[in-house]
């Protein structure tokens, strides 16, 4: 091959050497293999997904399903109401996430502490986590949403929104506390030994050495929990909170058309899919970082 411009790699940077004939052949054959793979992937996707769609739309009930679930003009009509409900879910998620973060951190620190004075609190934290991880969230929402107002305690709120959020916070704190605790336990004891031998107290060691590393490690699972939290805020609709799920329910019960539910589902997906993609990216990055550390 005889051209005068310097050879370039894939990203267009000039290479300082001219690739050998053999290398050029290899590059060409790599490209050919890549093209073949892409072709196979496309073909198989078209065949599989295409036949699934065909199966659905040629089924005998498709026309009625289409009318009751995918009535797009009705979907557009209720979009505003459902979206307004979704704002409630998002606000609830943000407030709950902050409270969960604080509460879960306290629980995790109590469960990992070894201080004798904290023993009763450690036992309480353990019992708390056991209980709230073992009871379905829906039950907790019902118990708190209907149980607390029934107590008729002076000054205590009857707002279903606040009670529902409380239930979500109580349950999720137990999950998140366990995630944080596993992060703390995953830090190698030699880090603690090094910090203690420098004279740091056990709480200083936790704050400056263990926690920063532990939290970095649990970011991906916590982002997963955030996605789950957003979805689960839909459960408070059972108390009558007008969130996206409830708004869809109201709209569909008016006309006996289920399109509002599909609308709500699509709106949830519009938020959760980018969030899950982002979580995957963060996870991949964190794995790469840990591998690099292991090699050093």
């Amino acid at each position: 091959m005889n051209n005068d411009s310097p050879a370039r790699d894939d990203s267009g940077r000039a290479l300082s050497w001219t690739p050998s004939q053999r290398e050029l052949e290899r590059q060409a054959s790599r490209k050919a293999i890549g093209r073949k793979k892409a072709l196979i992937a496309t073909l198989s996707s078209v065949i599989v997904i295409g036949s699934l769609i065909r199966l659905i739309i040629t089924s005998p009930g498709w026309q009625s399903v289409k009318d009751t679930f995918f009535d797009w003009s009705y979907g557009g009509e209720v979009l505003g109401a459902v979206a307004k409900g979704l704002v409630v879910n998002i606000r609830l998620t943000i407030i709950a996430a902050i409270l969960i973060g604080i509460f879960a951190m306290i629980l995790a620190l109590l469960r990992t502490s070894r201080s004798a004075a904290l023993t009763p609190f450690r036992l309480m934290a353990t019992a708390y986590v056991d209980i709230f991880r073992g009871v379905p969230l829906l039950l907790v929402i019902l118990l708190i949403g209907f149980g607390v107002p029934a107590l008729r305690i002076e000054g205590l709120t009857n707002s279903v929104l606040i009670l529902g959020t409380t239930a979500v916070v109580l349950t999720y704190s137990a999950y998140v506390a366990e995630v944080i605790r596993s992060g703390i336990l995953s830090i190698h004891p030699s880090q603690r030994a090094a910090a203690r031998s420098l004279g740091l107290s056990s709480s200083q060691t936790m704050r400056h050495v263990v926690l920063p590393q532990a939290l970095k490690r649990v970011v991906p699972p916590l982002l997963n929990d955030l996605v789950a939290l957003l979805k689960d805020t839909g459960l408070v609709s059972i108390l009558g909170v007008t969130d996206a799920v409830r708004a869809a329910q109201i709209a569909s019960s008016r006309t006996f058309n289920y399109t509002p539910y599909v609308t709500a589902a699509i709106l949830f997906l519009l938020i959760t899919i980018p969030l899950t993609r982002y979580t995957d990216r963060v996870l991949a990055k964190s794995i790469k970082r840990q591998n690099a550390q292991g090699a050093a």
């Binding site: 030994a193 203690r196 031998s197 420098l198 740091l200 200083q204 920063p212 590393q213 550390q293 050093a296």
Partner: protein, 247 residues
């Protein structure tokens, strides 16, 4: 004046007796080198001195004060002790400078500016000034270990404990770490170090202690213990080290 006195120390893990009635004295400004086969208890002794492991019997004195007293404030004792581990144990989420200044700032309440100044002085002295803002995973093993040593002397300890600080390094990197230890020894820093490097032990040791079966079988200047051992077990150990090519 003795910096360290260990008297009749006993330590076992379950039914494995690791240290059995061991006594050791380290005068100020001297280096004591612990040698012995793998598993002879060198690390365990250092960890006991640093109160990372609790002892079963005996007593340990630092500057004449008993530190094996359960009532003692462990954090207070450790302010006077520096320890460097075989596996560096730098904090991966902190820059080199932050690793070094963490204890001076948080434990010894030195001002941030002063801690940084002192850390930079040490880094410059040991040719690491350009790494101050790097994170540990960007450093070579030898550089990491040198930073770990600097970190442990930044708090000006009375006694430095070094546990096989070169055994995780390849031979080329060993020298840069050993030269730092030699410098500290020249400064008059009192230290106890465990090592497999007999040549290095000969250079820095005021006293060499050969550990076997939980006790010090032979002790004395390097010219005696390493060059002309008396005990059969010491001779046997040194012969095997020699065969492994580390003499």
């Amino acid at each position: 004046m003795n910096v360290l006195e260990v008297k009749n120390l006993r330590k076992s893990f379950e039914d494995n007796i690791v240290l059995n009635d061991l006594s050791l004295t380290v005068p100020d400004h001297t280096a004591t080198v612990l040698i012995g086969a793998s598993g002879s208890g060198k690390s365990t002794l250092l960890r006991c001195i640093n109160l990372l492991d609790t002892i079963d019997d005996g007593s340990i004195y630092l500057d004449g004060k008993e530190i094996s007293d359960p009532e003692i404030n462990v954090d207070e004792v450790r302010k006077g002790l520096g320890m460097v581990f075989q596996s560096f144990n730098l904090f991966p989420h902190m820059s080199v400078l932050d690793n070094i200044t963490l204890s001076p700032i948080r434990v010894h309440k030195v001002s941030k500016a002063q801690a940084r100044d002192e850390a930079m002085t040490l880094l410059r002295r040991f040719d690491l000034a350009d790494k101050a803002d790097q994170y540990p995973d960007r450093l070579s093993g030898g550089q990491q270990q040198r930073v770990a040593i600097i970190r442990s002397i930044a708090v000006k300890p009375r006694l430095l404990l070094l546990d096989e600080v070169t055994s995780a390094l390849d031979p080329v990197l060993v020298n840069e770490v050993l030269s730092i230890v030699r410098d500290l020894k020249a400064d008059g820093m009192a230290m106890v170090l465990a090592t497999h490097e007999m040549g290095f032990a000969t250079q820095v040791a005021d006293e060499v202690c050969f550990l076997k079966d939980g006790n010090i079988i032979e002790r004395g200047p390097a010219s005696q213990v390493i060059s002309a051992p008396q005990e059969a077990e010491t001779k046997d150990f040194l012969r095997r080290v020699h065969e492994a090519g580390r003499l």
